[in-house]
Amino acid sequence: MATEARRVVELGYGGNERLMLNMGPQHPSAHGVFRAILTLEGETVVGVDAVIGYLHRCHEKLGETLTYVQYPTIASKTDYVAAMTSELAYVMAVERVGKIEVPRRAQYLRVLAAELQRIASHCLWLGTWCLDMGGALGGGATVFLYCMRERESILDLFEALTGARLLYGFHQVGGTRYDLPAGWAAQCRRTVDTIWSRVDEYEAMLEGNPVFLVRTQGVGVISPELAQEVGVSGPLIRGSGIAYDVRRHEPYAAYPELTFEVPVETGGDCYARYRVRLREMRESITIVRQVLDGLPEGPISSRPGVKSVGQVRIPKGEGYARVEGPRGEVGCYLVSDGSPKPYRMKWRGASFSNLAVLPHILPGHKVADVVAILGSVDPVFGEVDR
């Protein structure tokens, strides 16, 4: 299928009736600093020009100036909503190039952190998405506050684990930096049990709500062909009926030893993406429980603790590691020249590729749907612009 770069839907009102509306980068629903130059005919979007780059911080260049010990701490600043997965992608790339073994306990802890992070990220997504559709002074705010309550309990867990609440520095080359503190596992079990019941509440509140259904069903349909053509990943491609999940297709960490489902919905619309994410929250909870049940004893890192910033050296070579983040495939490509710093580093941000689908699906929708669809894509601009 040949996909045109920019789709335009003509309504036939003619050029004089068109309105250019600059949505963002300062806009309540821009999810950061997204700028969409909308061409409107009445309330209908006929064309979209997406502009990104307002949050560009030379992150990849920065990665070349920091050592393998230093960088994992700020790797989380690419996707700050799912800090654990971006750290994981980086240390896995280093381990792949350097052929560094990771102890089994560390592999399990990595999965534990990644899945808890997925739940927290989906909580934030659901809340902000409903905020987009329902408004800060309406029902959206109610869902938002409920979701933040659940996310808060996971951030509490992370705080007990790492001492930080947003950007963790939990992963390090060769394993993890911290082990579980006493009593943490029990607290974690209680938290995920609560969240399990709260997911039921979200379903009851949203899926029994006709207004929510008419706003999401049939809105922003991504066909399976378009999804593959553009290269979206994560809940977007699974919402379009393609069972693609890096945890399945290229298992890493402890995932081969765990049983879990990959939720797939065939609708391709906002509602399908919502269903995928909600089912993923449940799957993540079952994975967390399995990890807590089967957590092996042993060291948490194959390398000694940090003594100097330059202590990790890997041989010359290059490698690519990818993980399944909450937003899709997060990849890190690394070229090593044998020094303590990478020669070149490149991120593959899930949000960046997912965002590319917008100009194809937005035209033809109303202005109100623009924010609903943008929210359903769940972009994090730290990861888009890097």
Partner: protein, 332 residues
């Protein structure tokens, strides 16, 4: 000593106006507390401990002290006039509301008509604000406003006319008088009353621009819609107008469907009952507001023209038939 009637009425109007403004201020606190409970939080607390009794005053003071910004490209005359044009009809409708037998400014014999006609005027202020701001978001919002208000005023009027037909009068005190007796309130009228009340609630939600019908404001799409460029006291006037309108429709709902000041206990408890019932209507509307997401503009129009308007017209027809079959209007 005799007071000329005009002077006495001026004093009355002054008292009523201040009472309304005070009520509006505290209704915002009620809504915030109610929403906070829905969202498992506490709400305003620290300004006027406990439970933020001074918060509305603090908000009003803050808005008074804010800088008044007028956009350079705005149509100044229209922009400056819009908040007043919006506020006036919203306050004017209180004139016709009786708070107890004989306690009200003007218990007109066409009270309901006056209320509906004047409250429809707020659209002029909305459109002026949207147009005068010279802002694309505001313009879109003004377009939506005209669409929505025209679509929803009709079902609003038709649903409000059902009690009028049942009572056989447009005078609000007469409508209340027709609801005497146990289960005499029109909301208890079998079938007809409940449906008309629900239709009235939905139509008021739209007429008041509240979620799920707040597409004019739509802060996640149109930032703040028609009032995006307003700040300081002009913003406060628009807010005041909006809440006054909500309060007035709540009072009207209590009068038309919930028997106004009728209730157990001595007659002097009447205004209290009336206030309670109006707050009940207000909280119902607020409850809807804080549990639904916003509907899209085309869906809003579809709901109005395809469902609400035919349904309310049918209700009105049925009410007329019932009255005709009963051989005349009056108490149930």
């Amino acid at each position: 000593m005799s007071v000329p009637p005009l002077a006495w009425e001026t004093v009355e109007a002054f008292i009523l106006l201040n009472a309304v403004i005070l009520m509006v201020t505290y209704v915002t606190l009620l809504e915030r507390k109610f929403a906070a409970r829905l969202q498992s939080r506490i709400g305003p607390y620290y300004v006027g401990r406990p439970h933020g009794w001074l918060q509305p005053i603090a908000d009003a003071l803050k808005l008074l002290l804010k800088e008044d910004v007028v956009p350079a490209t705005a149509d100044r005359a229209v922009y400056n006039l819009a908040p007043l044009v919006f506020l006036l009809p919203c306050l004017l409708i209180f004139a016709t509301i009786p708070f107890a037998p004989g306690l009200g400014l003007a218990d007109l014999n066409i009270g309901v008509l006056f209320f509906l006609a004047v409250s429809a005027l707020e659209i002029v202020g909305l459109f002026m604000a949207g147009w005068g701001s010279n802002n694309k978001y505001a313009l879109l919002s003004a377009m939506r406003a005209v669409n929505q208000i025209i679509s929803y005023d009709l079902p609003f009027i038709f649903s409000a006319l059902v009690p009028v037909v049942l009572a056989g009068s447009m005078q609000l005190s007469a409508i209340v008088a027709a609801q005497q007796g146990p289960f005499g309130w029109f909301v208890f009228y079998p079938g007809l009353g409940q449906l008309a009340f629900v239709a009235y609630l939905v139509a008021t939600l739209a007429a008041e621009n509240r979620v799920p019908f707040d597409i004019l404001e739509a802060e996640s799409e149109l930032v703040a819609g028609f009032r995006v460029e307003y700040s300081g006291m002009k913003f406060a006037l628009i807010q005041l107008g909006e809440y006054a309108h909500i309060l007035a429709t709540s009072f009207l709902g209590a009068l038309l469907f919930l028997g106004g000041w009728l209730g157990p206990g001595p007659t002097w408890l009447g205004p209290l009952w009336f206030l309670l019932k109006a707050m009940l209507v207000f909280l119902l509307v607020t409850w809807v507001r804080w549990s639904f997401v916003r509907i899209r503009v085309d869906q809003i129009l579809a709901i109005s023209w395809k469902l609400l308007l035919p349904a309310t017209v049918a209700l009105l027809l049925v009410a007329g038939l019932v009255v005709a079959a009963r051989g005349g209007a009056g108490g149930a």
